[in-house]
Amino acid sequence: MKKYILPLVALLLLLSSCRKEKLEIVNPHHRRVDNFTQQFEAVWTGIDYGYLFWDRDTVDWDARHDELLPIFQDFDSRRNVSDDEVAMAYQQLVRGLLDHHMQVSVRNLLTGHEFSVDPAIFEVPSRPYYHYTYLYNQIDILKSLPGITDFTEGTGSTRVYTALLPGTGDKKIAYLRFTNFYLTYQCYGNYNGWLPLRKFFGNDPINGVTDGWAGSDDVEAIIIDVRGNGGGMLQDLRTFMGALAPSRLDLGYSRTKEGLGRLDYSAWTPFFIDPPANHLDGSKKIVLLTDVNSVSCSEITALMVQAIPNAVVIGERTYGATCPLIDGGNDMLYSGVFGDLEKYGYYVYTSNFDLVDKNFYSHEGVGVEPDIECLFDIEALADGHDNQLDRALEFIRSGK
């Protein structure tokens, strides 16, 4: 019997070595690079393991690697590589990716110059309704509207505008516009930007709607204008936008990466926003104005408004950067921002919370569709009319 046992043990050991060997992978979040090839590998690997949308992105990432690696190897063999060449190579790398938050910043290791590329840079402008947001022209038109009172403009990096517009009968329409979601900072910083917020929400805007216009019986409707709003801090969503909701807003589901495999995801968990202690009761009409340059938190605000009864989104399909991120989250979530431009010569800004709506539809790379589409009309603007604001006022006054 012994003559069988030894060969069997040998066979067992031989077969047990059939498992794949472990890979040697350097964490792309903290990788020191000495040449273009290493820089490319760090960026490619970081996106390979940390990108959030591999379950639905159509880019062949492995093919991109094989296609571009020789180009970066060629850079390493040369003494002069222009910034344009490096930028073009990285733009080619990220071309077509869904993540509209993504921005890849790199340093030309020969010239020392730094620059950024992103996947949305060609996609969004290619939309037929794409346009620049003429903030100051639109504000000038707002100020000249008949019946407008109490126009207030805040100062600071976040521009905040409020005004009261005439509604039906003696009622008013409260208008609020801001250029990004750093309102909480504005309040804590005690900047002048706080003043319009105090008018709109009340003297204690951090705690929701208190004695401001939004809660006044004289105000029948509210217009929140996030056209051209570039997004910002997630905390603002609850503090300010959540205050407009009568109850918890069930927006859909979120998940994160849960490992380094492209398809290693956590389970979906409910994505909801609870209103702060002081919030509206749902009796006022709410209109959110969006355009193609409404990004990130502006787009989540659109999802919030669509979940509020008696509220509509008017304007255009938004930018398509709906999945949020937290800076420094890569070590925590295996996705999101990685690298350090100053230290390592590369930095990638990308999402780390995947969001879908209640129907499990992802708006990333697509944008949020308005309830009532009203495309920007530059000729009307030239004639002194903001056709999208006009449409919002018409909806409030006519109900359709």
Binding site: M1, Y4, I5, L8, L11, L12, L15, S16, C18, R19, K20, K22, L23, I25, V26, N27, H29, T45, D48, Y49, W54, D55, W61, D62, H65, L234, Q235, L237, R238, G242, S254, R255, T256, E258, G259, L260, G261, R262, L263, S266, A267, W268, T269, P270, F271, F272, I273, D274, P324, I326, D331, M332, L333, Y334, F353, L355
Partner: protein, 279 residues
């Protein structure tokens, strides 16, 4: 030493059922006294094994006496079941705070064996084997995230078995298996963006059936199986067995869907008790 004494006593006086029982009790008592007199502390395990061996031998003798024809066929078939303990062997690379731990489950199914000779046989069967694992995070910022995964597999092992003994057999076996990942379940706690927005920590729990990802999940399972078993014919047509078996997966749990795929494999240990019928 006690075992030899035991056999010799039987050779001198062939036992009846009553004698066998008395002998069994007497020998166990005698064994105990011998060990106590030897003053070897901490050898309780040896005593237990010795007693168990005596019991098995007694059973063999009893079976032989009652049913002189040990087996009536080269085939036997039966049922087996027990517990399984699975370890997921995974390359986490730089995600070093991911901790995968072993989890217990169950295994149960039908077994069949073919015995061409007295010492060689081939065992097989169709078994449900749970290959469970748990995941936790050991990161100061993320401590609450955890997953308990239940995975139900069907396995068809085929192993060559070599045994020592006649009615009571000590066996070792080695072979391969193929299987299929039938279903799964996940429960645990996940990070939620609601926590960042609202500070709400509730509703982060989940408890759901696992949805297979056809691009990633490799539901085909195959690998090596090996182990040891104790098998004993307790009656003319019945055999009972206790088995310690390993399923050493050689198929990655994932399809080869990305270039730098980090491999992950199951290694499952089962302990099962079975009863089979000589056909």
């Amino acid at each position: 030493m006690t075992t030899k004494l035991h056999w010799r006593s039987w050779e001198a006086s062939p036992p009846t059922i009553a004698n066998n029982l008395l002998t069994y009790l007497r020998m166990n008592a005698k064994n105990s006294l011998i060990y106590l007199r030897m003053n070897i502390k901490g050898i309780i395990l040896a005593a237990v094994l010795c007693s168990a061996t005596s019991a098995f031998c007694q059973t063999e003798s009893l079976g032989n006496r009652l049913f002189p024809a040990q087996a009536v066929s080269q085939w036997n078939a039966g049922l087996a079941g027990g517990i399984s303990t699975n370890t997921i062997d995974i390359d986490v690379a730089y995600a070093s705070d991911l901790r995968y731990a072993s989890s217990n489950g169950f295994n149960a199914g039908a077994t069949v064996a073919y015995h061409p000779t007295g010492w060689l046989s081939f065992n097989s069967g169709v078994l449900m084997v749970q290959k469970n694992w748990s995941l936790s995070r050991h990161n100061a910022q993320v401590t609450s995230v955890k997953t308990n995964a239940t995975n139900n597999y069907i396995a068809l092992p085929l192993a060559m078995e070599i045994s020592m003994g006649r009615t009571f057999k000590v066996c070792g076996f080695f072979g391969g298996y193929v299987g299929y990942w039938l279903s799964g379940h996940r429960e645990g706690k996940s990070l939620s963006v609601s926590y960042l927005v609202s500070g709400a920590s509730d509703d982060m729990n989940y408890d759901e059936d696992y949805q297979f990802n056809t691009v990633r999940d490799n539901r085909f399972d195959a690998g090596l199986t090996y182990g040891v078993a104790l098998r004993c014919d307790v009656a003319r047509l019945l055999q009972i067995s206790a088995e310690l078996r390993w399923y050493y997966g050689l198929t990655d749990l994932q399809k080869n869907y990305m270039e730098n795929l980090l491999p992950r494999y199951n290694t499952t240990r089962t302990i099962s008790l079975g009863v089979s019928y000589w056909l």
